[in-house]
């Protein structure tokens, strides 16, 4: 009897977990929590949860399967109650951005050559005007870092959200993006320091800015810095994250 209840409770929880993944997937929130390459695994889990849930819900023929050796009466509420937490969170959360305070505790990633597929060195740094998109983000960052001495005065256009640290002056901010490789847990902040008249721009708001590049520093490391010319407020994009794609077989 008790077993039967537990068995159905497990079925119910599996159904809940499946519905939670389903809801996040349909509403498009799933890729704000895990990277696209992990989505197929989550969908496979969704499928498995629903199948097993149905099998668990099914009425078992009494007496055939169950021997009472597994009578675990102790606090099943506590044991299974924990699973309601992720299910409910998945159902009620609609905003999946990490707060600015949390990001400030992580700091901007010390940039270095990373996950950059082959490109001609200097391709971006030597061009007249650099326009940064999602697709060439890391390429441009890498190229500028490698050619810091020749980028002075080049014009750049870039979009991102405003990020500040306590040590920034009133004339300083960073225009930044978050990237993830597996899930939001490993979210890493990348960005460019921006100098200029930035007081009116609110932290965490999204802007497209244009400006000229020069060599500067962040926490003692030489980095490209943008002198602000123009800025335009934009809506936060659907794809807020950059995804680091590790391609082993190409």
């Amino acid at each position: 009897m008790k077993r039967f209840f537990i068995q159905r409770l497990e079925g119910l929880l599996l159904l809940g977990l499946g519905l939670m993944i389903f809801k996040l997937y349909v509403s498009g929130y799933l890729t704000k929590l895990i990277a696209p390459k992990m989505v197929p695994y989550a969908l496979a889990a969704l499928f498995a949860f629903l199948v097993i849930s149905l099998l668990r819900m099914k009425k078992q023929k009494q007496g055939e399967q169950y021997c009472d050796c597994g009578s675990n009466g102790e606090s099943s509420v506590l044991k299974y109650g924990l699973f309601f937490l992720p299910i409910l969170l998945g159902f009620i959360l609609t905003d999946f951005t990490l707060s600015g305070e949390v990001l400030a505790k992580r700091g901007m990633a010390k940039q270095q050559a990373q996950m950059v597929s082959s490109y001609d060195s200097g391709k971006h740094a030597n061009g007249e005007r650099i326009s940064v998109t999602d697709d060439n983000y890391f390429e441009v960052l890498d190229d500028l870092l490698n050619n810091l001495d020749t980028i002075e005065g080049k014009e750049i256009e870039i979009s991102g959200f405003i990020y500040r640290e306590d040590t920034f002056t009133k004339k300083q901010m960073a225009i930044s993006r978050l990237s993830m490789s597996c899930c939001v847990v490993d979210a890493t902040l990348y960005g460019y320091m921006v100098n200029g008249n930035v007081e009116g721009m609110k932290t965490n708001d999204w802007y497209t800015i244009t400006g000229t590049l020069k060599k500067g520093s962040y926490k003692g490391e030489p980095v490209p810095v943008i002198d602000l010319k123009e800025s335009k407020k934009i809506k936060a994009p659907e794809e807020a994250y950059l995804y680091e794609n590790v391609q082993i077989i190409q």
């Binding site: 009897m1 209840f5 409770l9 497990e10 119910l12 929880l13 599996l14 159904l15 519905l19 996040l24 509403s27 799933l30 929590l33 895990i34 992990m38 989550a42 496979a44 889990a45 097993i52 099998l55 668990r56 078992q60 055939e64 050796c69 597994g70 675990n72 044991k79 299974y80 924990l82 699973f83 937490l85 409910l88 969170l89 159902f91 009620i92 959360l93 905003d95 999946f96 951005t97 990490l98 707060s99 305070e101 949390v102 505790k105 700091g107 990633a109 010390k110 270095q112 990373q114 996950m115 490789s181 597996c182 899930c183 939001v184 847990v185 490993d186 926490k219 680091e244 590790v246 082993i248």
Partner: protein, 336 residues
């Protein structure tokens, strides 16, 4: 009896109703009632927790399936025949097996527990626990990309992992007892032979589900702790200690422990530390993190006896720590 049965079913019906209500309406009404933007830190803890949960849950489930499969379909005789008799050969066989098995830390723990129950020697099991999360192609790939400028990190990670496995395996073989596995109370089918084929499948479903919920609840507790650390830990403060080899290595291993990253993603996070820490400390992060972290230890608690978990944690920490100090010295001398 009848009444009890009705209350049980009624409770389940109410839960089902609530579940569906939240499924359809949860995001419409709740955000109006509780404004999470008033509690940015709590909100971030929840977001990180949900991300960690969704990332790991498919692999936890896979682990439960594999463990049940071994339990029901692979007999002890087969395993006895496959395992080499000599401890050293068994250790190397386990390293080779880890290379082939494409799973990481969430899935391997229940599988190892089941294997030990089926007669695999403990030292071989420990070697699997240590090597399976690191020795696979995806981890090699991400480490290579994250440290393109510094290939000694990739080689160091692989070599240190294998060395740790061998040393820990030998240590366990010499000193430890055989009795390490926590006997599960929910073992229903064992010892009751169900000779009908269909009922074997039913018990497969039963096992998978029970294993999943047993490991899962420890995982949830571990993931909650890890998310709290993720959100509240100030990473910039620690950069100051980074240049001291001993302190830095211990610190990086501690960070890896509390952050509980997935082994295929941690290389990128390690790369973001690489300017403020020495290579030996980065190796500590990359080697220790996949073997042991908050969520791992809690999953281990669900599977193994407490005394074994404590021995394992101390042993792995000591071995990885000293190996990283040696490797750090070698790298800075350029001898790698």
């Amino acid at each position: 009896m009848l009444l009890k049965r009705y209350t049980g079913n009624l409770l389940l019906l109410i839960l089902l109703f609530l579940l569906l209500a939240f499924f359809f309406l949860g995001d419409v009404f709740i955000p109006k009632a509780i404004d999470f933007s008033d509690y940015p830190m709590l909100h971030s803890v929840f977001v990180v927790f949900l991300g960690l949960f969704l990332e790991s849950i498919p692999f936890l489930f896979l682990g439960a399936i594999a463990s049940s499969f071994i339990q029901l379909f692979i007999s002890e005789e087969i395993i006895q025949r496959m395992i080499p008799k000599r401890p050293l050969t068994a250790i190397f066989a386990a390293v080779a097996a880890a290379l082939i098995i494409p799973v990481c830390e969430c899935a391997i723990i229940p599988v190892v527990r089941r294997l030990i129950q089926k007669g695999v020697p403990v030292h071989a099991g420990v070697v699997l626990l240590v090597t399976a999360p690191i020795l696979n192609v995806i981890v090699f790939g991400s480490t290579y990309y994250a440290f393109q400028n510094n290939p000694s990190i990739l080689y160091g990670r692989i070599i240190l992992c294998v060395l740790t496995a061998i040393i820990a395996g030998l240590f366990i073989h010499i000193f430890s007892t055989k009795d390490v596995v926590k006997e599960d109370k929910v073992e229903l089918v064992q010892g009751h032979e169900h000779d009908i084929q269909s009922s074997k499948w039913t018990s497969f479903i039963d096992h998978t589900s029970q294993e999943f919920f047993m490991v899962g609840r420890y995982f949830i507790i571990g993931a909650l702790f890890a998310s709290v650390f993720q959100v509240f830990m100030d990473r910039s403060v620690m950069a100051d200690i980074g240049q001291a080899p001993i302190k830095g290595t211990a610190l990086m291993m501690g960070i890896a422990f509390v952050l509980s990253l997935c082994s295929s993603a941690d290389a990128f996070v390690a790369a973001s530390f690489s300017h403020s820490f020495l290579p030996g400390s980065i190796l500590g992060f990359l080697v220790f993190g996949p073997m042991l972290d908050l969520k791992n230890v809690l999953i281990m608690m669900s599977c193994f006896k407490r005394s074994f978990v404590v021995t394992y944690v101390l042993l792995i920490f000591a071995v990885v720590f000293s190996l990283c100090l040696i490797a750090g010295g070698l790298i800075s001398k350029g001898g790698f």
